[in-house]
Point group: C2
Chain length 219, copies 2
DNA sequence: CGATAGATTGAGAGTTTTCAACCGATGTGG
DNA sequence: CCACATCGGTTGAAAACTCTCAATCTATCG
């Protein structure tokens, strides 16, 4: 939920050099299908050329959660690749996606041949852990409204074009779609957001975040 | 909350070789003090010789959360070190702690001189991210009772000797101490745990987890 | 043995969810 | 280009969890 826009380089596209790019296999997948599925063995990782990807998992009660979002110009599937683990969650195409698949028998090979990519992935990993732990902290200490506001800002920053649904926002911050709807309606009433069809328009991120902080104050 | 005992090597002590060990500065700190504090610049990382460390953060409303636990034979402070970031949370000594401090100007130096340590830390990082995201998933899809049960098992596995308090268990899974108390009382009534003074004795982890799964079924 | 931190218990409050019904947007086939 | 099907969004009322607050108890330790 927390919005951290520091580590600026990590929020920008990573530009692949040609030597590395040529190692990748070009693939594409339509909206709704999975790039990889929880439990699968990892033998490589992916670079998103265009489109948007969600990393999702399902709780035993059937509730889905949106763990991460990967936008174009970034990677996905690196956690399991770097650890040599099985995939822990499922990578879903939220839009039609074009991507490069990089296969390596082992993470050490990547380190040997393309150290800069390897090191970049480590930074991403560190950043992901930071975000995940911030979200854990937020889940215990913040009311739904603040979680929703911050998630909205976070997701909109990840992809301002994509029409995030109430469901996805809720899956990102542990709220039901009904609660998200109600919260957004309140925010619209106060003039902090607008609705355009189903989409949500955030005119001024700062006033939204100010409002959120204000709410926290009288928690 | 989820208990994953796969990645077995990561739950064991990491044995330092002498060459590396000699680079470390021996330090110790009494229970209750911080090894490092949120916001601090990172210039190295730590290896715990004895004792137990908690990584904590505080939500804006003042509620503390227990993000990670590092026991003897493992490292702490590596996330910020590897990313070159500031520390994101505070490392508290839960007991008296003896540790080695390893200072490096840069993570690349560690990789160059001690690649095996570097690679091990990457695995740990991957594992931490996995756990953190499992916990995020659990927080949206599990009731307090299950979160408490799984946290109890998890923490007891991290350190079976340490008398985990209701507060700490609650801070780990986003519950109040009162709720933890009530839940533990129920579990005691059913014979799944025992209390010995303030400490909690888990005689059979498996029946506890079975019970948890059973609860999930009729969610 | 007293002091203190942690644990327990109860009653009441409050946030968020659940369930159910209905509405509206989007997009597709005729 | 319209009609309809479908998916997503909205709203309300009721229920359910979990928390809050306050009082009391009890380990633990100097």
């Amino acid at each position: 939920m927390k919005v951290t826009v520091d580590d600026s380089t990590l929020n920008q596209s990573y530009i692949l050099d040609d030597a590395f790019k040529s190692k990748g296999v070009l693939k594409s997948i339509p909206k709704g299908l999975n790039i990889y599925t929880k439990g699968k063995d990892s033998e490589g990782f992916y670079y998103i050329i265009s489109g948007l990807i969600g990393l999702v998992d399902i709780a035993p009660n059937g509730v889905e959660s949106l763990l991460r979002v990967h936008s174009s110009g970034t990677f996905t599937g690196y956690r399991s690749f770097l650890s040599g683990d099985k995939c822990n969650a499922t990578s879903v195409a939220l839009t039609d996606v074009t991507y490069l698949y990089f296969e390596f028998a082992d993470a050490s090979l990547l380190l040997k041949d393309f150290p800069s990519i390897y090191k970049y992935l480590i930074k991403v990993l560190c950043h992901d852990l930071k975000i995940a732990e911030q979200r854990l902290n937020d889940l215990s200490g913040k009311r739904v409204m603040n979680r929703i506001i911050e998630s909205l800002v976070f997701l909109k920053q990840k992809d301002p074009e994509y029409p995030w649904t109430r469901r996805e926002i809720g899956e990102f911050c542990s709220a039901t779609t009904e609660t998200v709807t109600r919260t957004l309606s309140k925010l619209e009433k106060v003039g902090l957001i607008e609705k355009s069809g189903r989409d949500i328009v955030v005119s001024c991120i700062d006033s939204l975040l100010d409002f959120s902080r204000q709410q926290e104050a009288n928690y």
